[in-house]
Amino acid sequence: MSLRISALYGLVALAAGLTMFGLYGTFYWTPLEVNEIGFTQKIFYFHVPMAITSGMAFGVTMVASILFLITKNLKWDAWAVVGAELGLIFGSALLWMGIIWQRSTWGVWWTWDPRLTSFLVVMLLYGAYFVLRSSVETPVQRARYSASIGIVGYLAVLFTMLSTRILRSVHPVLFRLSDSGLGDSSMLITFLVAMFAMFALLAAMLILKTSVENLGEELDYLKSEIGG
């Protein structure tokens, strides 16, 4: 018990430390991008890690959904919800960062770029996941329904990305890692640190939130035991 908690504290400290270093690197260490993008290029260091992290969080939802349907253990339902929640949190931060970047780079708030389009669909899909959850009362039925959407939804995410990219191939893909100019080693290190910072943050938040969810379920059960 105590070992688990100290490991968790360690993880939180790691996430905080790496994030601080990532921010320091972003603002003070890395050189200014000399091409046309300039200062706003610095959004990149956290933008891309956040995109990957949010994809991973939705992936957690999918895996936990499959495990729930196999094992029928409500523990996995908690993991699935927390995955979707964190995916949405990282995702909305990502969207706002992207909007700021576009506005300063291209002068528009929004473009129907394939990645933006598919990401907006994904956000709305996982928003609907929570609407579904809130409209089912019994926990087991709620878990079954949302698990099946967790699986089918992830497939839809993959297909949305595939189809928007293929069908819009008239336009160039706008962000690619090789175009981002990570030539300087400080840039690469900052980027990798930010990446691990976001991974550690995701892991810490996943563990914390699932234990909160599990406690909530236990509380509901105990309440129903005493007829409350």
Binding site: A128, V131, L132, V136, S148, A156, F159, S163, I166
Partner: protein, 233 residues
Amino acid sequence: MKPLRQLWVILKKDIIMEMRTKEMIVSMLMFVMLTMIIFNYAFRADRNDLTPFGGGLLWLAFIYTAFLGMNRSFVHEKDQGCLEGLLLSPVDRSIIYVAKMVGNLIFLTAVELLAVPIFTMFFISYPYYLHLDKLGIFLLGLGLSNFGIAAVGTFVATMAVNTQRRDLLLPILGLPLLMPVVAPAVMISGTMLSGSTSKHELELVGESLKILAAYDIIFFVVIAMIYDFILGE
């Protein structure tokens, strides 16, 4: 042989009910036509030619019509207690799914086949898609898209009818799941409606057909596998 017969019995029940009431097809068709009237306002279509937007407008009308119809298909089952009967009968759950899905597919296709000529008359200056080389692709695109819409829509509608929000849930949950169908569907119908001969666009139509086929197969199989968990009680 036996599963096919079970499937046919459930499907026949839906078809007979629809033939008697004509409820779904008539209301879906009316909805499509009302949507078209709004297109006329939206584009101030005094020249009556919306060919460049044809594909998108067509699917805008069709996708919401599909939701309208598919919601009904389960409200009946639930309210008249037919769903309990189906669940009690010794029929595999995935057969129930396939039967309901095929029913929805038939009704949706019927409405679309009635609506496309009306849409053409209202908004399309020259029906290029009726040329023999285009008609096949146009209909194939329609069919593959409808298959995907029916597959996912039937699945979401089953859930929706068992929740508190009922018919509200199908569009907000179904539409994001169906975006990978809508995008290629618009591409195919739009290119066929405009009679475009651009090589690049025709290539994209080919890609769209592939995406639709892959979507249909994968989603149909996965949903048929997990449908048990949705109906299970």
